[in-house]
């Protein structure tokens, strides 16, 4: 038994029926290409999401109202809570605290108007979220104390209202009909996991509380963003915050009426979601590979029947069971191998194309075609070929030479 010889013979046999072999191979190509494309795009998406989460800052902690579902009547977060968190004695690991209010408003300028997100912020917000100004100044303490009617524009809002992104300081826009003076334009941040941060405006927290986003009680806030000293201090800071809120809200043990999310939580969630999606979609793609395998089995069974006499002859000339088995297995493995190689190429092409399209529409998505993906697809397709070739090959090898030679 000579492997090289068997390979050449299998190649001859496969190429002697080009149409049939081609169609069988297409089945595998589609399966492998789908697996490769989906896994590499899934990894790319995961990379993009993780990147944007890490872009938020590795030392941020988000505090929301409401704990687990069983906790009834959760107390709202208030400015008092935020102030307690900024107390260096109660929360030594906390570097900065930024309570915010947010909602949707209509902003207009002259005849132009647009719906956008409004965020009520304190001066610390700029430091905590690392907001940079394209022009003008960030909201300061005076603005907050005086409930000033001043606003910072995101670049997209600026573009919508003014058709330009600079030279806007001093202009006046209307938010829900009230006039606000533009004191700055935020630097573009691009899309993030918090939505498009360019499509929003910022006003002083006190202004939002009293005029735009009234809540009850009046010192209530929606979210408190806390900055730990560094990423290592995040767990400690979370502990401190929890302790403060438990004390202030007088919660029962194990019944927190607030939730704390760190960047790690976001990362874990995102990874779980993309991982599950990739496995799910990859599983669907694998089914098409399975269908391709059944195609191989089908064609090999036809081939065995067609070549019954040939098998009989080979046996008469001294071929052992294993020789025949090996011959047909080589053939089916060859079919699936060719399909696998073309499929890897096609899958890579598809994922790169999708990556390009995504990049062209401003969504960075870099497909990652790892060596492990390629190896997996190769092994999987070879295994499919061998598995689905085994039955036909075994059938061929167990033919009785006398019967096979007599077959018409």
């Amino acid at each position: 038994m000579n492997i090289g010889q068997s390979f050449i013979e299998a190649l001859e046999s496969v190429s002697s029926n080009k149409m049939r072999s081609g169609l069988t191979i297409i089945g595998i190509v589609i399966g492998v290409a789908a697996v490769i494309a989906i896994i590499s795009l899934g990894r790319g998406a995961e990379g993009t999401i993780i990147g944007s989460i890490q872009g938020i800052g590795t030392n941020l902690i988000f505090v929301f109202r409401g704990g687990s579902e069983e906790v009834l009547n959760p107390k709202p977060l208030t400015l008092g809570d935020a102030a307690a968190m900024s107390d260096i004695f109660q929360a030594p690991s906390v570097a900065g605290v930024a309570p915010i209010l947010q909602g949707d408003v209509k902003v207009s300028m002259g005849g132009e108007s647009t719906n956008t997100r409004i965020v009520g912020v304190t001066p610390d917000y700029g430091m905590v979220r690392n907001s940079k100004m394209a022009e003008g100044e960030f909201i300061n303490e005076e603005h907050v104390l005086g409930q000033a009617s001043v606003v910072l524009l995101g670049t997209e809002v600026a573009q919508d209202l003014f058709d330009r992104k600079e030279g806007l300081v001093g202009e006046t826009i209307r938010i829900d009909g009230r006039p606000f003076r533009v004191i700055g334009v935020l630097e573009s941040k691009g899309g993030s996991s918090f939505g498009n941060e360019d499509d929003q405006v910022m006003v002083p927290l006190s202004t939002a509380q009293t005029r735009l986003l009234r809540r009850s009680p009046s010192d209530r806030v929606d979210t408190i963003i806390v900055q730990a000293f560094d990423s290592k201090a995040v767990p400690q800071a979370s502990e401190e915050i929890s302790f403060i809120l438990r004390t202030r809200h007088r919660t029962d043990i194990g019944a927190d009426d607030f939730s704390i999310l760190t960047q790690q939580d976001f990362l874990d969630t995102a990874q779980t979601i993309t991982g599950v999606l990739t496995i799910f979609l990859g599983g669907i793609a694998a089914i098409s590979l399975l269908v391709g395998g059944i195609g191989i089995m089908n064609i090999m069974l036809v081939s065995v029947t067609e070549r019954t006499r040939e098998i009989g002859l080979r046996k008469a000339l001294g071929a052992r069971r294993i020789d025949i088995l090996f011959q047909f297995l080589t053939e089916s493995a060859l079919l699936s191998m060719i399909g696998g190689i073309i499929g890897i190429g096609l899958g890579a092409l598809i994922s790169l194309t999708v990556g390009r399209i995504a990049a062209a529409s401003d969504t960075p998505l870099t497909p990652s075609i790892g060596l492990d993906t390629v190896l997996l697809a190769t092994l999987f397709s070879a295994a499919v070929g061998l598995f689905f070739g085994l039955y036909p090959a075994n059938r061929a090898s167990s033919l009785e030479p006398v019967e096979a030679l007599r077959y018409e």
Partner: protein, 226 residues
């Protein structure tokens, strides 16, 4: 002791077709000496094909003993029989049974693929083709050859492993008279030149008359004739 290449003692073969048992051979004994030319004749259903299959090690007898080239082969396993066929039997079929996709040369090389003999494959195949007078058709495929030429390729294939016997089943059955005569001539000359034992299964008394001995089979036993 005589030098029997084929020695069959008391062969029986029973086929079970559902409930019915068909006795194809009923205690058949036959001996063929080395270098002999023998034809086997018999009407359809006489057990002729069954005997040929057993002699060619394609099948096993139900009972009795069979020695091929002094080796007891009547109860070997499938793969052992395959290797015996490969080494000791050269088959020539009525319908040639060449691989249609392969050249004459590859067809002749085929038995050597299964004998594990890698050395001189091409050289031996070429000399076998030369022995049947087809040196100029080495690269041709079966459909580019005449029936007579195809059968010559088949004979070269039967010769290439230098078997103890050549077993020809109606070797001229699919050929016209003149190519048939040529094939018979070739087979007989191989026997003269190499001393190869030749067993021909045939219906044709004309063919049988050219062989040294005729064994008539009837109802699963040898019918002795003067």
């Amino acid at each position: 002791m005589d030098d029997w290449v084929i020695e069959a003692k008391d062969l029986t073969k029973v086929y079970k077709m559902g409930e019915i048992e068909v006795h194809a051979l009923r205690g058949l004994s036959v001996q063929i000496a080395r270098g002999e030319i023998v034809s086997i004749m018999g009407p359809s259903g006489s057990g002729k094909s069954t005997l040929m299959n057993i002699i060619g090690c394609l099948d096993r007898p139900t009972g009795g003993e069979y020695f091929l080239d002094r080796e007891r082969v009547s109860d070997l396993k499938d793969d052992q029989l395959a290797s015996i066929r490969n080494q000791k039997v050269g088959f020539v079929f009525q319908t040639f049974n060449l691989l249609p996709r392969a050249t004459a040369l590859s067809n002749v090389e085929l038995p050597m693929r299964y004998s594990g003999n890698k050395k001189n494959r091409k050289k031996r195949a070429l000399s076998a083709l030369e022995a049947v007078g087809l040196s100029d058709r080495v690269r041709h495929r079966p459909n580019e050859l005449s029936g007579g030429q195809q059968q010559r390729v088949a004979i070269a294939r039967a010769l290439v492993n230098e078997p103890a016997i050549i077993l020809a089943d109606e070797p001229t059955g699919n050929l016209d008279t003149s190519s048939g005569d040529e094939i018979m001539e070739l087979l007989l000359s191989l026997n003269q030149d190499h001393g190869t034992t030749l067993v021909i299964v045939t219906h044709d008394p004309e063919i049988a008359s050219q062989t040294g001995r005729v064994i008539h089979i009837l109802d699963g036993v040898v019918e002795e004739k003067a």
